[in-house]
Amino acid sequence: MRVRSRLPFALLPGLPGCTGRQSVLDTAGTDAHTLLTMFWVMLAGLVVIWVAVNGMMLVFRHLSPRRHDEALARKMIVGGGIMLPTVVISALLAWGLSVMPDQRAPGDGLRVEVIGEQWWWRVHYWPEGAEAPVVSANEGRLPGGLRTEFDLHSDKVIHSFWVPALGGKMDMFPGRRTMMSLHPDEAGVFRGQCAEFCGASHALMAFETVTMPPEDFAAWLEHEAGPAVPPEGEVAERGAVVFAEQGCGACHAVRGTAAQGQVGPDLTHVGSRHSLGAGILEPTVENFAAWIDHTGDLKPEVEMPAYDDLPGDDLTALATFLMGLK
């Protein structure tokens, strides 16, 4: 009795998983709506079949356990065991296939190239007619009400690009390009996650996806394409010096400065992103400092070394500088 009374409480922690910004049940895009409809239809069908099968078992085994007519039994086996599954699976297959082209429909102009790295994302925006991309990282921004194409590939291992609230997932392969498109219809911030095991920090390979009105997106993209803003204030200026002295620019690019490294994420506007370390930390000065101080503790086997020998003041200055890169 005690166990039974506690059961609902034991299930409670699972409930928040049904909503929120990384849920297939809380959708904000056309493709996700379609997938959710399919899920509910299939779940309903599953419940009907489950009840029917178990109901028959109950009737024939317990309520009416006599010898039944063999012709009827054969009809039930052929009808329920062969015909019904064939028809149901065929219908689901046809429906699923009819939806698939929509999930890869051509975009309305913007193409976003995403390259999976261990364990972060290179994000290149190619507006219609662009000859060079707007380079960013670890965050996706999309204009709402428009379909955006995603051109996906990977550096070393297979990853999978997935923003559950906006649509289905698509694998990213080294040496091969895959394509999908998303059509968000609601402004918001949604969490994306790598959905294919890709090494020690696979679970920590996430990103925020920001959907915004098209005119806001255009303004944002124009700003994102520009060089970094100069550091403001003494501490941030000191941070820029530390950034240069420590050789951060060998791996990271900050456009408009001498830092042009291509190994790690582009940091030109890192302070304006919604997360730090590819979706694992809130972007605050403290978290920037914590990240630089012990990268490997926060993201196992990450390639960026921990700068744990930096004096506290320098670390704070560096974090302030990065946080200021809006």
Binding site: S90, A94, M179
Partner: protein
Amino acid sequence: MSDRKEEFRTGVGSLMKITLAPWIWAFHFVICYGATAVWCARLTEGGDTDTLQIALIAVTVVALACIAACGIVGKRVWTRGGFGEDGEIPGIDDEESRTRFLGHATVLLSIVSAIGVVFVILPVLMIGTCR
């Protein structure tokens, strides 16, 4: 009696016959996937699939006709000599029943193969693009 034995002879030939329909399914599968891959990678611009669809529908019609033929032959072997009064197949554990069993298996495998062939062609018909 010896004629009757000959008529219901089992052997490698009959065993091979029951695999014919699945073989057609397999060939149809390879043709559809291979042709689609080559078409989309080399022969078309912009993902148009009209010609491919028509060609593969033709292949599918031929495959289904062959599978139907297998099924009809299997049905004849299965029902040769008629059923008993209650619809049951007479004989058990003898040459005749073994032959009938092979015919029965041929019919069932033909049905499965036909469903398989339809499932293979469905993506070609429903998706209609190389994208």
